[in-house]
Symmetry: C2
Subunit: 161 residues, 2 copies
């Protein structure tokens, strides 16, 4: 290892830590509060909103699969879907081929609410207006690389204590 690499590594770690802490803080405050405010404006809970987003129109989803995507035990899905169904947003339908599974589909009403919700959630906060197109391009590129790296390193070998 040459001197330049050592210095890069040392400086890089301090900066990487600042980046990471900034992302943590950004996620816990602004991002989280923005999501919570938007979701509650639709009278939904966070898991309900997440479920609704995962139910793409015209693509029935077995309850088991929804549990996997929400990363919670299958027993929770019953209640979450009960409440969505009580509001007429989704329906349980028999799945072809296996009479055990129930496929979830969004109703017309559900599609309407879902579209509105997703549009609102994805609306870009004004805080991004301060960046030039060039800077946005750079930021997007860097974030994409981090996202790709996260995919390849699911939880990280150093994840445990």
């Amino acid at each position: 290892m040459v001197a330049s690499e050592r210095s890069v590594s040392a400086v890089g770690n301090a900066q990487a830590r600042e980046i990471w802490e900034l992302l943590l803080e950004l996620s816990r405050t602004h991002l989280r509060e923005r999501l919570a405010a938007t979701i509650s404006a639709f009278d939904l809970s966070v898991p309900q909103a997440h479920a609704l987003q995962l139910l793409e129109p015209g693509r029935p989803l077995p309850m088991r699969d929804l549990a996997a995507r929400l990363r919670c035990d299958a027993s929770n899905i019953t209640g979450i879907v009960d409440r969505l169904e009580a509001r007429g947003l989704v329906e349980r339908q028999p799945a072809p081929g296996d009479r055990r599974v129930k496929a979830l589909v969004v109703t017309d009403k559900g599609v309407a609410l879902r579209t509105s919700l997703v549009e609102r959630l994805h609306r870009v906060p004004p805080a991004f207006a301060g960046l030039s197109a060039e800077e946005q391009r750079t930021l997007l590129d860097l974030l994409r690389r981090i996202a790709v790296a996260c995919e390849q390193d699911p939880q990280g070998p150093a994840s445990m204590l």
Copy 2:
């Protein structure tokens, strides 16, 4: 407005949207799961861990203030603190000057756990290793500017439906 500004605005919006959606996804998946895994490894709930982080050693904090920082109703703090106190991590102490308020302080055991927890939470994920020092510097600069903009625009006037 000249043509170049219009084009910047158009392209910039599409890119800004991608950045925003990438941050949302990153926050909801990798970041959130990483936090959850770390916190549960300490046998804490998310609010408990957050409370512990907010209780700096040697700086007593009234329960009311903790509620404000956790952004939840004051009535919830009783239970959260009960559980932390039952584990000997924090203590309720009388506050000087006002006999109504109870000041929270971390015990020695709490400080030890808190230090370990914060160290673990702030440990940089390996996914950041792929960026050069120069790229990290750029990313940090851009994220800082967004963070500052978020501070100045608490929830955004377009926050409501």
